[in-house]
Structure formats: structure tokens, C-alpha cells
């Protein structure tokens, strides 16, 4: 079965990509399978300068999910381009860069640099990281800020721009509209929900940062709802994510209105999960009587 999809002008072999922050810069997972099998790779967030992130512990398990507060640790955009991108260049799959920052200027600077790099085929604008004190989620919860930021980044980048939305909002369609008006070429949704867990032994939060982002199957129903809501309002391509673990989940996300999907937390559960989902997808589609991805997209819940 032909699994290829057109995602805002980019041709992907299949609609499956690892989610930003859950796959590093790809190297570790290249031990498990050939990254060229992936529809795309989304690399870890890049900021203007290197960041050390939050104190540890940075992760905790929750029912059917996990909390993380990595805090955008990364070597900075220059080192990423120098040290990480060359490795990825050897694979036949489009690379998405995830752009983060504390200020509009930082976002713009990072986006500009990455968009000029030949290895990077698209940008994902992370306006939804709940784990940093500055920037991040503010841009993702205020439609005006989201609009300004998207516009500013759009002006310095010619690569397709996907804006990654935060689910920690009263009305996600408002944010989606704002970034669409600002010129976004697509949407990524959802990022994590802000959560917390308390260690009863120490009587302190399990995550040193106190709160962290909730991901994994626990949030899948929220992701499906939000994608469906946004799909009713826009034709922009959507990269859907939030708890995907199986090919069945992928079909559910596509039915909700996603054009492609990203797999995050499940990579920790099974480092081969992206490849296994790609291998199983044709069988799963047949099980639900779809003869092609196009046919599925036509019946997507609307």
C-alpha cells in the first residue's frame, strides 16, 4: 500500500515521524533501524545558546503517561548545525527542526539560521513548552503573541513552518486561527499538558521543576478532541500527536483530521516503535477496510 503523504508541500514516504524531544538528534535510534524508513525526523528543540535545562529528576511516570521537565536542554543552534545535522544528512528522510526561545528575537534568530541550513526541510515552532520559565508557553497561550511570533519567524524563513500548539488553553481553535492568519503553513498538535506528581515519601514534587509536561496515552483523548476541533476550522496540514503507540492509534489520529503523526513517549517504551508502526500500518488500514490513505482522509470525522 502506498503510504506517502503530501504535508504542506513536502513529500513524506509515510505519515510517521518521531516527535521532537523524544528522539534526540536521531543518532541513538539509528542503532535500532534505518532512519530512512521514517516519514520524517523532528529533532530536539534548538535555542540560540546552549542550555543545561532543569535540575533532575526530570521525568516521572504517571498512569498511562509520564511527566517531563527537561527544560529545552540543547547545545544551541550553532552546535546543532555543526555537530548533529551532518549525521542526519546521510538519511533519505526530511528533517524538521524544532525552534524554541525565550524571546521573539531568539526564536527569529534560531529559525533564520536553521531555515538556511540545507539539511532542514521544515521548521516546527515550539510555542508550547511548559517547562521553561520564560517564553515557551506564553507565546502558545496568548493568540496575539502567537500571531506576532509566527509572523516574525515567517519573515525570515522560506521553509514550511509548522506551529506547535499547546493544549493548556481554553480554546485551541483561537490559537490555531491566530497562527494561520500569521502565515503558518501547518500545525503540530498537541504538546504536553502541564501536570504534577508528588512523592509521598519525600512529600515533595517528583519532578525537581515541580511541574512537568504530561504525555503518553493518557492524553490521547484530549489530543484527538483538539485536532478534531481545529480540523473543523482550517485546511492547514496538521501533524497529530499525543499518546500514539500503535498503528491503530495512527488511524484514529488520521480520522480525527491529522495529515501526518508524530510519536513521542512511545519511543521510550519501545525504541523500535516508529518502524514497527510503519510496518504494521498497511495491515491495520486493511483491517478497517481502507484501501488507501486517501480514502481514510476523505472519511475523516468532520
Amino acid at each position: 500500500m502506498n503510504l506517502s503523504v503530501d504535508l504542506g508541500g513536502l513529500q513524506l514516504k509515510n505519515p510517521i515521524m518521531p516527535a521532537s524531544g523524544c528522539f534526540g538528534f536521531g543518532k541513538e535510534f539509528s542503532q535500532f533501524y534505518d532512519l530512512s524508513e521514517l516519514g520524517a525526523v523532528v529533532i530536539k528543540a534548538a535555542t540560540g545558546e546552549q542550555r543545561f535545562g532543569n535540575p533532575t529528576p526530570r521525568v516521572a511516570e504517571t498512569p498511562s503517561g509520564m511527566l517531563n521537565a527537561i527544560g529545552l536542554q540543547n547545545p544551541g543552534v550553532d552546535k546543532i548545525m555543526e555537530q548533529e545535522l551532518p549525521f542526519l544528512d546521510s538519511y533519505d528522510t526530511p528533517i524538521f527542526a524544532n525552534v524554541a526561545g525565550s524571546t521573539l528575537e531568539e526564536y527569529v534568530q534560531v529559525a533564520e539560521k536553521l531555515s538556511q541550513h540545507p539539511t532542514i526541510k521544515a521548521l516546527e515552532l515550539n510555542i508550547s513548552c511548559p517547562n521553561v520559565k520564560e517564553g515557551g508557553i506564553q507565546f502558545g497561550t496568548d493568540p496575539n503573541l502567537a500571531y506576532e511570533l509566527t509572523r516574525a519567524v515567517k519573515q525570515v524563513s522560506k521553509k514550511p513552518l509548522f506551529v506547535k500548539l499547546s493544549p493548556n488553553v481554553t480554546d485551541i481553535t483561537e490559537l490555531a486561527r491566530a497562527v494561520e492568519e500569521a502565515g503558518a503553513d501547518g500545525l503540530s498538535m498537541i504538546n504536553t499538558l502541564t501536570g504534577m506528581a508528588i512523592d509521598k515519601q519525600t512529600r515533595k514534587p517528583l519532578i525537581a521543576n515541580e511541574t512537568g509536561g504530561l504525555s503518553g496515552p493518557a492524553i490521547k483523548p484530549i489530543a484527538i478532541r483538539m485536532i478534531h476541533q481545529v480540523r473543523e476550522q482550517t485546511d492547514l496540514p496538521i501533524i497529530g500527536m499525543g499518546g500514539i503507540c500503535t498503528a491503530d492509534d495512527v488511524i484514529e489520529f488520521l480520522l480525527a483530521g491529522s495529515n501526518a503523526v508524530a510519536v513521542g513517549t512511545a519511543n521510550f517504551h519501545n525504541p523500535l516503535v516508529c518502524k514497527e508502526i510503519i510496518d504494521e500500518l498497511p495491515e491495520a488500514l486493511k483491517r478497517y477496510k481502507f484501501t488507501s490513505l486517501d480514502e481514510l482522509r476523505e472519511v475523516a470525522v468532520s
Binding site: F52, S64, G65, N68, P271
Partner: protein
């Protein structure tokens, strides 16, 4: 090479209070390079537990294709493990990390210090060290009912057991025992709670040593940055799962991070 494989449970039994020994068998064992490496175990059915649990390889044999882990029942994951029966399978990712590099050591007075569930990785280590070195082991436990593997260590090392409450062996912490032998040590190895490692690092700051460090983990393979620890290197940090869990005592600065 890191593999993800279903290993069969050869045995799974209590060896001390809340402490189990599990023997696993499968081809993944052939990939183990050194003592001190660890495995990352999938917990439960389906996707209810998204994070694997890291456990040190306590012993292994390339001949029998078996490895041993020793684990304490702490929370949901270890409780689930304790209920798995012989002949069933568990999903393992490993071997992970680099373990204890010991090829350069011969004819040395070596000290091995373990606390609680920090003891397991030292067992295979002690076996291998003892082939060419004189090994002293100091093992600390909560109290008499939590002591395990004393006799096994005794075969390969001059072993002292200490318990916090004095109910068995020496009374007090491993650091109390070490105080008395400080000058006779050429090289040391330690694994245990952060606070113990920090104390030992300070106490033996003039001696070379390797420390095995714990941290909560996500991926276990170096991709998620969950398990970093500040370090005295170019990047300013190490990833415990990938660069460790064993570090040179002057690379990671634990006694600072615990104060």
C-alpha cells in the same frame, strides 16, 4: 549492540527483605561487555507503564546465556516484577551504559563499596577484579534482614558487612568502615545512594575511583536528556544512561550537588 528482546525468566525469588533475585536467559546476554552495565525492563501489560525500569546486571555468563538482576520492591514496577513467574518472559532493552572499565588494573589493593541496591552491580565486578587484584568489599544494608549475597562476595573478596542499626556486622554506614582502611586502597569502586556516593567521593578524594550513579530515566539510550548530571567536561554534563552509569570519581561532582 543494544537489543530489545523478550528474555525468559529462569527464576525469581526472594533473597532478603523486599529483595528479589531474578535470573534471565536469552541471546541479549551475549552483548554484555562489562560489569556495571544495566538493563531497562518493560513493566506491565500494554501501555499502562510508559517508562521502563533500569536494573544493574549483577552477574552474567556468556556460556549459559544468563544474567542476574537483584532488585528491591519499591513501587509499582518492581512489585510487578516480583510477581512474574518462572518460564514467562519479560521485555528487556540492553545492555545499556558502559560499566566498570577494569582492564588496566592488576596487582592492586582494590576497594568495592556498595549500599543497598547499589550492591548488585559490584558482584560481577568483584568476581572479575579478584582474578588479578586483592579485593576488599564493604557492603552496607539497612538491617540484618536486608543483607544479601554476603557469602557470594566472600568467595572473591575480603568482605565486611555494615548495617545502619547494627543488627548485623558492623554498626553504622559504609563510610565508617572505610575510615579504617583508607590508606590501604589503590583504587575504589562504589555504587549506592547519591548521598553515600557523595560522602565516599569526598572521603577518598585522593584515591582514584569509579562511581556508578543513579538517576530517573526516560529512554535509557541517551536521546531524551532525562538523566543528566553536571560534570567536569567540555559539555558540562554527562548522560548517565549513555556516558555512565559509571563515572570516574573526578568527572562527576556529587558531593556538591547533594549539599
Amino acid at each position: 549492540m543494544i537489543l530489545q528482546q523478550d528474555l525468559s525468566i529462569v527464576s525469581n525469588k526472594v533473597i532478603a527483605k523486599d529483595t528479589y533475585e531474578m535470573v534471565l536467559e536469552g541471546d541479549l546476554v551475549q552483548q554484555i561487555k562489562r560489569p556495571g552495565q544495566f538493563i531497562h525492563i518493560k513493566i506491565g501489560e500494554g501501555f499502562s507503564h510508559m517508562l521502563r525500569r533500569p536494573f544493574s546486571i549483577a552477574d552474567y555468563s556468556l556460556e549459559t546465556n544468563q544474567l542476574v538482576i537483584i532488585y528491591k520492591v519499591i513501587g509499582e514496577g518492581s512489585k510487578w516484577l516480583s510477581k512474574q513467574s518462572d518460564q514467562s518472559f519479560i521485555n528487556v532493552l540492553g545492555p545499556l551504559g558502559n560499566g566498570f572499565e577494569i582492564d588496566h588494573l592488576a596487582n592492586q589493593n582494590v576497594l568495592v563499596v556498595g549500599g543497598g541496591v547499589g550492591v548488585p552491580p559490584l558482584y560481577a565486578l568483584t568476581k572479575q577484579l579478584s582474578q588479578r587484584n586483592d579485593v576488599k568489599a564493604v557492603l552496607g544494608y539497612q538491617s540484618s534482614d536486608s543483607v544479601f549475597y554476603e557469602e557470594k562476595f566472600n568467595k572473591y573478596a575480603n568482605t565486611t558487612v555494615a548495617t545502619n542499626d547494627g543488627s548485623y556486622g558492623e554498626e553504622g554506614f559504609v563510610t565508617d568502615v572505610i575510615n579504617q582502611m583508607q590508606n590501604q586502597v589503590d583504587y575504589y569502586f562504589a555504587c549506592g545512594p547519591l548521598i553515600m556516593l557523595g560522602a565516599i567521593q569526598l572521603q577518598l578524594r585522593d584515591t582514584q575511583g569509579l562511581l556508578s550513579v543513579e538517576e530517573r530515566m526516560g529512554c535509557g539510550v541517551g536521546a531524551c536528556f532525562a538523566c543528566v548530571c553536571e560534570a567536569d567536561n567540555e559539555k558540562g554534563y554527562v548522560k548517565i544512561c549513555q556516558d555512565g552509569p559509571v563515572f570516574h570519581s573526578n568527572e562527576v561532582t556529587l558531593y556538591e550537588s547533594i549539599s
